[in-house]
């Protein structure tokens, strides 16, 4: 009855308070931070541990002291690694391969994505799906048939592909091209059809439409694909482990494992230092291009 009386006064009734928007937002924020902190600790623990260990001497690592504290910090591991020709060769191999793979991938993916998304031809949609499906086949299944293929090539032509760093330039794109093409197809699809029609009427050829309209407009997507291709090739472990063996042909991840573990002697200080330094380049690239990366991955989510 009380509400009826309130209605008579001409104002809206004020029901029992069940909560408020600001209070539920605050509660949601608290929980968000709780989980963010948990995950941050979980994911940051290994690199922090690596960093701490990289500053220790071998004696201190094997001593039964607090593993989370450095009592006698030293840069010896860094100096030793950075002045070792072997480690720098690994680094150089990794850098050359990753950059070359990124270039190869982009040269294949961008025109492929343009053709598949814009030049409607018979079977183009099936082909686009097929490109993505090939990405779903894991490299752990692929490396044995690839190995057999290389052996076959050697048998018939005498060309030895195994144990050459440059052979990785053919192998990595099998991982990067499908995914990058897929990202680019999605990105190109979000570009309105009228834009290429306007370019056609303005007198642009297909190549000019691609280079002067599509590539600049799709730059965030291209950068996202570049970062992906770089990360995949930089972190690739299985293919170089299977296909390269001589120390001068190794890339960083494999090199660290094979040269710094001698029999059952683990040179932990240098392993940690090497891995930490090896993780730096992708980290730096991410830091600079993060905004573009996110814009690229969320393209099409909101029509821009």
């Amino acid at each position: 009855m009380a509400t009826a009386v309130l209605h008579d006064r001409g104002g809206p009734s004020r029901p029992v308070r069940y909560g408020s928007i600001s209070r539920s937002r605050k509660r949601a924020l608290v929980w968000s931070y709780v989980f963010l902190v948990i995950f941050a600790i979980f994911f940051l623990m290994p690199p922090v541990y690596m960093f701490i260990t990289s500053l220790k001497t071998s004696q201190e690592i094997s001593a039964a002291t607090n593993p989370w504290w450095v009592f006698d910090p030293t840069l010896a591991n860094y100096i030793e690694l950075l002045s070792s020709n072997q480690y720098l060769t690994f680094f150089k191999n990794s850098a050359i391969i990753s950059i070359a793979v990124v270039i190869i991938t982009m040269c294949v993916s961008i025109p492929a994505a343009f053709a598949l998304s814009r030049m409607k031809f018979w079977g183009s949609t099936t082909l686009a799906t097929g490109v993505f499906l090939t990405y779903l086949i894991p490299e752990t299944l692929l490396f044995i048939p690839l190995f057999k293929t290389f052996a076959f090539v050697y048998e018939y032509t005498g060309i030895q592909l195994i144990n050459n760093w440059w052979v990785l330039l053919f192998l990595y794109p099998t991982l990067t091209v499908p995914f990058c093409t897929w990202i680019m197809i999605g990105y190109f699809a979000s570009i309105p059809k009228e834009l290429d029609e306007a370019a056609i009427i303005d007198g642009a050829s297909y190549v000019q439409t691609l280079t002067r309209i599509f590539i600049p407009v799709a730059l965030p997507g291209i950068i996202a694909a570049t970062i992906f291709a770089f990360t995949v090739s930089w972190a690739q472990f299985l293919y170089p482990l299977a296909f390269t063996t001589s120390t001068d042909q190794l890339v960083l991840p494999v090199g660290i494992i094979t040269t710094l573990i001698k029999g059952d002697v683990f040179n932990w200080g240098q392993i940690m230092t090497g891995a930490l330094l090896g993780a730096a380049p992708p980290l730096i690239i991410y830091a600079f291009l993060m905004d573009y990366y996110i814009a690229g991955l969320t393209a099409g989510a909101t029509k821009g």
């Binding site: 009228e194 834009l195 029609e197 306007a198 370019a199 303005d202 000019q208 002067r212």
Partner: protein
């Protein structure tokens, strides 16, 4: 000289015919508007003129040359799209000059043309901006500017005002008309809005179901439609179609629609005579059914109806009522105070009536 000629043009998508063989002659410097409901083939026709769609059959000629197999860039046309289609990474200046730069036109010539177009469209101060920094109306101007700088034989507009809000649309409509008066280029303009068609066109082409229903000056289409479709499409609210029976009484013809019956103009007796005794459609626009006025001209005929719905519009009031089972609209002065349920005496201006043969949907 750039007349556009379409001869028996057909567009087929797989098995569906989008355009079913149309003939159209567009004179040099003429402003022609293709209008019709969605799916009538008007956009397809425009895109075929542009060269963005291939022609399944027939011929299209621009300036006397058949261009069936000529790529868009060599047809010397410019097109303005519904969503503007500005290149988002280029400034207004770069957007407008893109086509000229591809053609390798000299730098100062490009500069001269862009500045001239910018002056016509009043966008000189926007030349350094990117499209995302512009409002909808400004983007539309830039899209038009991009067309003007190319100095083409034909302008093509594909529903250019549909993305603008109502107020801006009216403003840009006037703008387009002004630009055409300044630039004087053959223009083909596609819209689904009959008001745009009427206000802009030298000639309107009404399309329906892949065919041309009627071609004519805006006022001709309004006053002398040849088909039921055109009669209903042009004008808002649309023409009333009331089923009636034609009767002859002492030499004069009467249209009997339930309890209402109206005498037909004497001058048309001979034309309507073959339909005596038949069921036909009586067409009359709402603006020709008004309250009785002492000074009314023509052949006002009185009748009374019970009003169902009253819609005040400000400058006029629309009344809805039923005659012979169909809903009919009438336009009256806002001062004619009636409420729904009341009986309203009205007068029909029969000089503007049309008779439609339901068998052919043609105006008799």
């Amino acid at each position: 000289m750039a007349q556009v000629t379409l001869r028996k043009v057909v567009k087929k998508y797989d098995d569906t015919l989008a355009v079913r063989g149309i003939d159209l002659d567009i004179a040099d410097k003429e402003f022609v508007v293709l209008v019709g409901p969605s799916g009538c083939g008007k956009s397809t026709t425009l895109r075929m003129i542009a060269g963005l769609e291939e022609i399944s059959d027939g011929d299209i000629a621009i300036g006397g040359t058949i261009v069936n197999d000529v790529p868009p860039k060599d047809r010397d046309i410019a097109m303005v799209f519904q969503n503007y289609a500005l290149y988002p990474h280029m400034t207004v200046h770069e957007n407008m000059s893109f086509g000229l730069r591809l053609k390798k036109v000299a730098k100062d010539e490009i500069k001269r043309r862009v500045e001239n177009a910018a002056r016509i469209l009043d966008i000189t101060e926007l030349l350094a901006r990117k499209p995302k920094q512009l409002s909808g109306g400004q983007r539309q101007r830039v899209a038009m500017g991009r067309a003007i700088v190319r100095d083409p034989k034909v302008f093509l507009f594909d529903e250019p005002l549909s993305n603008l809000d109502a107020k801006l649309r009216v403003q840009m409509r006037t703008e387009i008309k002004k630009v055409h008066q300044k630039v004087r280029t053959t223009t083909v303009y596609v819209t689904h809005d009959q008001v745009e068609a009427m206000t802009l066109a030298d000639r309107v082409v009404v399309m329906n179901g892949g065919l041309i229903e009627q071609v004519g000056a805006p006022n001709d289409l309004y006053h002398a439609p040849t088909t039921k479709f055109v009669a209903g499409f042009i004008g808002s609210p649309s023409m009333n179609f009331i089923p009636c029976r034609l009767e002859e009484a002492s030499g004069a013809l009467i249209a009997r629609m339930g309890e209402v019956s109206l005498p037909l103009p004497e001058a048309r007796t001979a034309r309507y005579k073959p339909y005596v005794g038949k069921e036909v459609l009586f067409g009359l626009r709402p603006e020709h059914m008004t309250e009785r006025r002492p000074y009314a001209t023509g052949q006002p005929q009185d009748f009374s109806v019970t009003v169902d719905v009253v819609e005040p519009m400000g400058m006029e009031t629309l009344l809805y009522f039923r005659i012979n089972g169909v809903e009919v609209a009438a336009r009256v002065e806002p001062t004619s105070a009636v409420a729904s349920g009341e009986v309203m005496p009205l007068a029909a201006d029969l000089a503007h009536m049309h008779l439609i043969d339901p068998a052919t949907d043609k105006v008799v």
